[in-house]
Symmetry: C2
Subunit: 442 residues, 2 copies
């Protein structure tokens, strides 16, 4: 039986230009899509075999959606696209001199390379925090968090002392952007609509939700109007919002805030920053402190002819509205992805390239049932129930795959009419031990 | 901050008889349901916070259903039942002399105890096999298997040598009962309907599925007619069925059959036997070799006044039709559960107990689209398309929870019309490392 040491990626040489895309997130899949029908070989590398719709991860974490509603397998997505190759692998290094990449499944040459590896949670070097906090960037994160929330409630039920019980029912979310706001709102809906029935033995009045934001307002990428409304929605719903407050430390039991205040919580979720996912082999000077690589107006990495970067991992300067780079949001990644595909086609055809111009469609965030905030172009802003329907519609339509849209729609309809979040499951992660041997209770 | 050492289960003393049920499977939940409205305190212990519909696990493993469609949280199920207590915990020991149990969350006394802990995979002492084989008794098993199937195909794509490629595409299932038959059929449908589109670079003709059964026929708990039809269905679908064949050894690469034949496979699924999940503290002499505890005709464990056992973990002698004990199937567990609840009520009311009489409703198994086999009472047997619709209907109606039924129904409708199995996801289990660092490729 020969050993399965794979050193070749087995990507056939088709005699056409080979475009390799690293990462199948919002940006990466737009590049693939836009190259459909073009005479090139398109190769997508990803660590997972599916695309993840991150904006709805918080719903998986709070038992509102199943994981499979927000993921789409790449092979299914691009199954009918000619000369498309998917490789399940991790890209470890770029070798620009050789025009090749080193991956976990071997080395392969490229004619054009697009780095679309996205971002990961940024703990700003706070190691103890990183060890003790939950985050929410991947499916694993979301299901771990869901397990943790449910398990915390189960253990709160059993706690001997009131202080211990309260710390188990005290959820601290750090980061007042859409992720933190949406998570805080969803948790407060669990507290109001689901937990009272599930945990009759607990006094749910003791359950607390804190949202901690270091800047002066929530959703500081949106309008002041949106920030103010989100703040009042959350406060009405019982969330304790701390503005202009930083988190100094967290040891798993005690949160130390910049104000000196301490919160006793066994569950802290860190949604307060992201950093890019770089790949080795590029000039280190091109990366910012938060690991975004500098690109020109064509999304080309400065100094490289045939290497592009898009989305969260890239930083394009020169846009007056966004001097520090475009927001790390889906629309920016998608627009850059489409243009990069066009520009690569132009490069191959020796035509002139088109510079990127970000079309800011606006942004939105939801807080709870009938409570969302929307900023649109032209200064159109609205909040409340209509904003919530718009938010749901836009997210539903943005999901990849008709099936995902249908199933998410039904999940939402179900929750809407039953006030129920039906996915509250602990699917134990540790196959050998009972899930109860987890550190929480030792 | 007080330490979270929980030594009390915090189950209030209500001044009523306390009935503790260990395990929320098919049997356990029937006991709880049947005690609704009765003046007793009902306490359910389970390692997980949800009930699992095991008959459809193989569909999770072959990407046909989402995990959440086949599970139901206990707190939701029994949320409206008075004096019902759920405890997330593992029961470690029974102390009959003290009428108490020792659990991972503390010690608690019972007036009546029902052991409904079910069964686990039985590897018959073959340690190397256990280490290398996959099994399919829990959600974790099923998602691991799903990951493995998909990853095996991804790696087959990259294999350097044909022998390695073929071994990755060679799936060996051991055990010709419904589990094995259903899994083999589902895999062959993946091979025919899904993989050709997903893996155009692979020659799917090289993919093999073997089903190995040690007795002379498949589904040997069913009629000869059903066995023969299942055999011909599977063979038509390209599954290689080996009857009267045992598996002697499996080292992760090579399967050694009793016939001396060797199969080269990186994926062996063991569905060839179960053994009971006993709890310490009972008389060891009461357990069979396969860990089933001997009970009398009232499901009472012999020698104990107030301890009962039902379902897969129990063995009731004296039924002429089932001299070796009732089949380890859902209907037997459910009927025993209902009767045990009644008998406990009678015990408390000092009435006479009713002995158990198994009502064999028949059995069924499915092989693939329009291919199922059904044995009903009165010798009614049928196979094929109608049997398949009956199978789907019965399983749909048996699912716990209206929402699960609706979502499963839609998943099946989707698959039916699109021939697609839409849940083919690798949700990596290892949060720290890339899933590609798994032993498969080292």
């Amino acid at each position: 039986m020969p050993k399965l040491i794979t050193t070749r990626t087995r990507i056939a040489d088709l005699g056409k230009p080979r475009i390799i895309i690293i990462g199948g997130g919002f940006g990466g899949i737009e590049v693939v899509k836009a190259l459909r029908g073009f005479k090139a070989q398109v190769v997508l590398f990803d660590k997972y075999n599916h695309h993840l719709f991150q904006p709805l991860l918080y719903q998986v974490a709070t038992s509102g959606l199943e994981t499979s509603s927000i993921v789409a397998p790449f092979r299914k997505m691009f199954g009918s696209q000619n000369d498309f190759y998917f490789r399940l692998g991790e890209v470890k290094k770029i070798d620009p001199a050789e025009n090749s990449i080193e991956t976990s499944i071997g080395r392969v040459k490229y004619d054009y390379l697009v780095l679309a590896s996205g971002a990961t949670t940024n703990f700003f070097g706070m190691a103890e925090l990183e060890k003790n906090a939950s985050c929410m960037k991947t499916i694993i994160d979301a299901t771990k968090l869901r397990n943790k929330i449910i398990r915390s409630m189960e253990y709160a039920l059993l706690a001997e002392e009131k202080a211990a019980m309260k710390s188990l029912m005290n959820f601290v979310i750090v980061g007042g952007g859409p992720t933190g706001v949406e998570l805080a709102g969803a948790l407060s809906e669990l507290k109001r609509n689901v937990f009272p029935r599930d945990y009759k033995e607990l006094d749910l009045a003791e359950m607390q939700i804190h949202l901690v934001e270091s800047s002066p307002r929530l959703l500081n990428g949106m309008s002041e109007q949106a920030s103010a409304k989100a703040f009042s929605f959350l406060t009405e719903m019982g969330v304790q919002v701390h503005l202009q407050t930083a988190v100094k430390a967290y040891d798993g039991e005690e949160v130390l805030l910049g104000t000196g205040e301490k919160l006793f919580s066994r569950s802290l979720v860190w949604a307060a920053g992201v950093k890019g996912n770089p790949v080795e082999g590029l000039d280190g000077a091109l990366f910012t402190k938060s690991n975004r690589v500098m690109v020109d107006q064509y999304n080309r990495i400065k100094g490289y002819e045939n290497i592009f970067a898009i989305g969260d991992v890239a930083l394009m300067e020169g846009d007056e509205k966004f001097p520090k780079g475009h927001p790390q949001m889906a629309p920016a990644a998608q627009q850059q992805g489409k243009l990069v595909a066009q520009n690569i086609i132009h490069l191959i055809a020796k035509k002139t390239l088109r510079p990127f111009s970000y079309f800011d469609k606006g942004s939105m965030a939801t807080v709870g049932r009938h409570k969302a905030v929307v900023d649109m172009r032209g200064g159109i802003r609205f909040q409340g129930a209509f904003a919530w329907y718009v938010w749901m519609f836009v997210h539903l339509m943005s999901l990849v795959g008709f099936r995902n849209r249908v199933f998410t729609f039904f999940s939402w309809m179900w929750s809407y009419f039953s006030y129920d979040r039906s996915n509250r499951l602990i699917i134990g992660r540790n196959e050998e031990k009972s899930i109860l041997e987890e550190p929480l209770l030792k």
